[in-house]
Amino acid sequence: MHNEHDFLEEELGAVVRRLRATPASDPRARAAILARVRGRRPAPWRAALAMAWQPSIPFLAAASLAVVALGAGYAARVLVEPGRPGPSVLAVAEPSDLTLVPVVDDGRVPVQFVLSASAAGSVSLVGDFNGWGEAPAVLQDPTRSGVWEVTLLLSPGRHTYAFLVNDSIWTIDPRVATSADAEYGRPSSVVLVTK
């Protein structure tokens, strides 16, 4: 019994020593990290400006309301006009321009995502901008018309995304281009956000 105990402690110690062996650090991986962070911080003059001008909470609230109002207005204009979705589970809405005018000063732009899915119980949005589902954006269908929408603030640039219907069905946006560099080997949709 004692020998068995000693044996197990020795074995466990050996496993820990082997686990402690540090893998070689790939210089290309380190370079990739540095490439990703390059330029992410605001320039010093912008940081100083931000420090000097701290917007008040009421101002932020008003700005947020403005964004929501603009998004809602846009949704009404784009979504009410197309005909009702067909009987299919994932019927296609009319093509529309996804880019809106910028109304916030941090460089992000409100972008509306729309999916016509008359039989869906829920629709969420996953993309590179939210960690592919780390914090999925939930689309709403306030009129119960089967047209789901959400408006997000995105940084200018190219973003890839997909809809998740009923938390399980990966669905690309039928209105826009499909990405060639598919995430997880599945197709995703592309939106180009411009200022």
């Binding site: 197990l8 496993v15 820990v16 380190r30 990739a32 962070v37 960690g131 589902g133 990966w170 080997g185």
Partner: protein
């Protein structure tokens, strides 16, 4: 546990000095990869988790309190990325019907790194929380207070997780020895 002896590097990185941040990456990258690989049991997922973690560290550094210890803070972000990666992988595995992306642990039993696979199979026997506590304590050499910072769990719970992990590993090794 290895400590960063140059708090000035952290201050400079916090102030936006990319060279200083590069020094932090150089210093911690290998250990982060080790931890992520042993948590995720996939070199590919680990690389992505580590990269994401360092980007988040860079973004969050301006808010980092330099009077606190850097390493537990870094590992907390990394551990969160590993958890997120596991969720994504589970979701991915659940959704992809015809998948050709089998986890590394399952495909390379005959590969060159058989020793690593053997270790990973052993780690795979541990529930994730126990594996995390075991690795932080026995491999990364962290004390329980720092582990509490990393995991958000209490010290007594962490001690129990480490003990249970050791028990599971001993049972596995005993089973293998008797076979």
């Amino acid at each position: 546990m290895e400590h960063l002896n140059d708090p000035d590097t952290i201050r400079r990185a916090k102030a936006g000095d990319e060279r200083a941040f590069g020094s932090l990456v150089d210093q911690y990258h290998a250990r982060c990869v080790r931890f992520a690989q042993q948590m995720l049991l996939s070199a590919e997922d680990a690389e992505e988790a580590v990269q994401d973690a360092f980007v988040r560290v860079y973004d969050a550094l301006p808010r980092f309190d330099v009077t606190l210890r850097f390493e537990p803070w870094l590992f907390r972000i990394l551990a969160n990325r590993c958890r997120t990666m596991r969720v994504r992988r589970r979701r991915h595995d659940a959704m992809v019907v015809f998948s050709d992306s089998t986890p590394d642990i399952a495909v390379s039993a005959q590969g060159e790194d058989a020793a690593r696979q053997e270790l990973w199979l052993l780690l795979d026997a541990l529930p994730v929380e126990q594996r995390e506590a075991f690795l932080l304590h026995h491999v990364e050499g962290m004390g329980y207070e720092d582990m509490a910072t990393v995991t958000g769990a209490g010290v007594s719970a962490l001690k129990m997780r480490v003990k249970r992990a050791c028990d599971v590993l001993r049972a596995r090794m005993l089973e293998a020895n008797r076979a």
